[in-house]
């Protein structure tokens, strides 16, 4: 008996149980924003299913996506975090700026990294202060600058005398680009007009009557959910030229344009990743996941903008995991090791090519000083007849000269408020 007990103990000590690599997905498949939450959650889950089915997980360890329904509600999001963190969660993707703000201090205390891809607290790009938060490949302020840079390119580098109206969701999220746009307005000499839309944004007549009266040259939109569809419809109603209307990357999915029909043709938005399914990895996805009946949800979202975003987010999490395994020499990594992997992540074209995702996202590398990535995005345009988004630019850089000081200022204020000493190296 004693010998048996000793043998089992020895086996356990020699070969520790290979637990799953756990990736919580704070999804929202219900509620007013479900149409945006479902494709992202499906893409996130399907990528990890693909890795399990095709590669046997990552580094020989199976992955497990732990989905928790938030309904895009901040309190529920925090509950989800509390109820899943004990399962060995490696990285959280909160998919909500409100939830992100609540989780920043919690994840810092618990030592679990947070990836807020294209949302959340912009100044978290300063990794010396926000050690556990990563917002690569681009953040809101990058987005605002990229939109302006695109317009500069269209206007021969000169926007002086032009007017840009920002139609924004009247929330912390919607107000994010204002400061950047104000700085850029001063720098480039364009007039900035601000038009707030109250949640949820079903009624925007006042804002679009104002746009019709003031006739801005361009409209930039920071919207989400029903606000986007109504704004695009109202723009069509007043016959605002769609090619002069640019949404951010949360106002540029099929959900936003399809309800408007033909009238949405020509509408533009920022894109932090590529569109469609014309990538070698989708053949594997079909073979191992979709056709095998293992897709998340209905399996009918593949290739949509937000599905691709979830897919891309999962790819970045998986690559950071591989990096962490490489750095620490163990397959079954901890959240702290995952953080190290995220901070050492290098995504270049060779890597994306090898993954079957050539040119899917921008090439970037992460460092302690820069958790925000390259800050690049493309511009996509809606073709209503074909029912598809087309990428119409190459990767556009953001204006670092404007954004970096803003990041330093905001993150510095956070550090002062919370007695954080910046640490790198």
């Amino acid at each position: 008996m004693k010998l048996g007990t000793l043998t089992i103990a020895a086996i356990c000590a020699a070969a520790p149980a290979m637990a799953d690599l756990v990736y919580p997905s704070l999804s929202y498949r219900t509620g007013p924003y479900a149409a945006g939450g479902i494709p992202f959650a499906d893409g996130y889950a399907d990528y990890f299913t693909l890795l399990n089915e095709r590669d046997g997980g990552i580094g020989g360890v199976m992955t497990r996506v732990l989905e928790c329904e938030t309904g895009y509600n901040t309190e529920k999001g925090v509950e989800c975090y509390e109820s899943t963190k004990g399962e060995g969660a490696l990285v959280y993707q909160p998919l909500s700026t409100g939830i992100t703000y609540q989780l920043i201090p919690k994840t810092a205390a618990d030592g679990i990294p947070l990836h807020t891809m294209g949302y959340g607290r912009t100044s978290a790009a300063n990794g010396s202060i926000f050690n556990n938060v990563f917002n690569y490949p681009a953040n809101y302020w990058d987005g605002a600058s990229i939109a302006v840079n695109h317009l500069l390119e269209e206007n021969g580098g000169d926007l002086s005398g032009k007017t840009i109206a920002l139609v924004y969701h009247n929330s912390a999220y919607g107000k994010e680009p204002i400061r950047t746009l104000e700085e850029l307005s001063e720098k480039h000499g364009f007039d900035l007009s601000l038009l707030a839309v109250d949640h949820p944004g079903q009624e925007q007549k006042s804002q679009w009557l104002q746009i019709r009266r003031e006739r801005p040259d361009y409209v930039v939109m920071w919207g989400w959910g029903v606000m986007n569809q109504v704004a695009i419809q109202e723009a069509a109603n007043i016959r605002f030229p769609m090619e002069n209307f640019i949404g951010n990357w949360w106002a540029g999915s099929e959900n936003d344009v399809l309800p408007v029909g033909e009238a949405a043709n020509g509408y533009k938005s920022l894109a932090m990743h590529n569109v469609g399914t014309d990538f070698p990895i989708y053949a594997d996805l079909n073979q191992y996941v979709i056709d095998a009946g293992k897709a998340a949800g209905n399996g009918d979202q593949v290739g949509t903008v937000l599905y691709n975003r979830g897919f891309y987010a999962a790819m970045l999490a998986a690559e950071a995991t591989k990096k962490a395994q490489e750095i620490h020499g163990v397959a079954d990594i901890t959240p702290a090791m995952m953080r190290d992997g995220m901070e050492a992540l290098v995504v270049d074209e060779a890597l994306m090519e090898s993954l079957g995702m050539p040119n899917f996202g921008p090439a970037f590398s992460v460092s302690c000083e820069n958790h925000g990535g390259s800050g690049q995005a493309k511009v996509q345009q809606w073709d209503a007849a074909a029912g598809e988004w087309n990428i119409i630019t190459d990767w556009i850089d953001s204006d670092r000269a404007v954004i970096d000081p803003l990041i330093a200022e905001d993150s510095g204020a956070y550090a002062a408020e919370n007695n954080i000493t910046p640490v790198c190296g």
């Binding site: 219900t30 007013p32 038009l195 707030a196 006042s206 959910g225 029903v226 069509a236 309800p259």
Partner: protein, 329 residues
């Protein structure tokens, strides 16, 4: 005419039109409250459910497809046919009537003579249940609703006002249609309650349901009838709002726009819902134009509608057209 005055007139006209859209939602609340004393929290979700059902039928979507596929391993989503808009609307009306019957048979029949707060709580439960059923039945994706209603600027008004004032007014064709439909709806409801036997019975129940019972009016029938009519009104509101924004779950939030209208117009008056809607619509739009946007950073409409309603409420608690509350000591 000075530009600002022209803009103010344009804003007011659009406010009136927006008010009609709010009134369409408020009408459903009024009908049920008037007949049964129930504040139907589920009215917004009923509009969502009706609109989703309409689009689902139109597109030949298989109801509960996800559930069926998950249970039986099938991959069915569509029947492969499309139903013309009018037929789909009629089928949806039938489904809303069946829903009205089920709600009364399984919920409110068991709650007769309960406190209003209990009935209100029951409608909260109903709202969330119905939202879940709608999700299971038709899925969560945003759907385009197209029943042939025109949208976009009305060129005739634009040209005529431009010729007259040098500035073309923007009026949305959809808003004009909504106004005509709301007018027809109110006329129809008034005619129904004045000139039909069922309508008179409905009024009798609204006045005193115990007295109505004593003269042989079936309370169950009246309640099914009134919930069916409210279901029809919800369908109309769902079509109008769904055409504007696509059919999606946030459609249920249109109920929030109806509350100040009810506070102002009264919970028991059909004309009150219309007049209340118009006052709220014009009030919030003019406030945003004159004060909100230039001085307060904009986005004042949501809260100002409630401020306006509160002001009316302070001076006339039963609302502009509500029945005066007389309590005898």
């Amino acid at each position: 005419m000075p530009d600002q005055l022209l803009f103010a007139i344009e804003v007011s006209l659009n406010g009136l039109m927006a008010g009609v859209m709010y009134a369409l939602v408020a009408l459903g609340f009024v009908l049920i409250f008037k007949a049964s004393g129930i504040f139907n929290y589920a009215q917004g979700v009923m509009a969502l459910f009706a609109a989703m059902t309409l689009v689902g039928i139109q597109n030949g979507q298989v109801p509960f497809a996800h559930l069926i596929n998950a249970t039986f391993g099938t991959k069915i989503h569509h029947f492969g046919w499309e139903v013309p808009a009018l037929a789909a609307i009629l089928l949806t009306v039938v489904i809303m009537a069946a829903f009205a019957w089920a709600v009364n048979r399984y919920i409110f029949r068991h709650l007769v003579n309960q406190e209003p707060i209990i009935l209100f709580m029951a409608t909260i439960g109903l709202a969330y249940f119905l939202e879940g059923v709608a999700d299971l039945m038709w899925g969560s994706e945003i759907k385009k609703l197209d029943v042939g209603l025109p949208q976009g600027i009305n060129d005739w008004i634009d040209t005529t006002t431009f010729d007259a004032f040098g500035y073309g007014f923007f009026i949305d064709n959809l808003d004009i249609v909504a106004t005509i439909i709301a007018a027809l709806l109110v006329l129809g409801l008034v005619a129904f309650s004045q000139y039909t036997k069922e309508g008179r019975a409905l009024r009798a129940v609204a006045d005193d349901h115990q007295a109505a019972l004593s003269v042989g009016i079936s309370l169950n029938f009246i309640w099914v009838l009134v919930w069916s009519i409210a279901g029809f009104v919800a369908l109309v509101a769902g079509i109008m709002w769904g055409t504007k924004s696509g059919v999606q779950f946030s459609l249920s939030l249109i109920a929030l726009k109806a509350l100040p209208v009810l506070m102002l117009g009264g919970f028991t008056s059909i004309p009150g819902a219309i007049v209340g809607g118009l006052i709220i619509g014009v009030g919030e739009k003019l406030f945003e134009f004159a004060i909100g946007a230039p001085y307060l950073g904009g986005a004042t409409e949501n809260w100002f509608a409630y401020v306006l309603a509160l002001i009316f409420l302070v001076f006339r608690p039963q609302g502009l057209f509500g029945e005066k509350i007389i309590e005898r000591v």
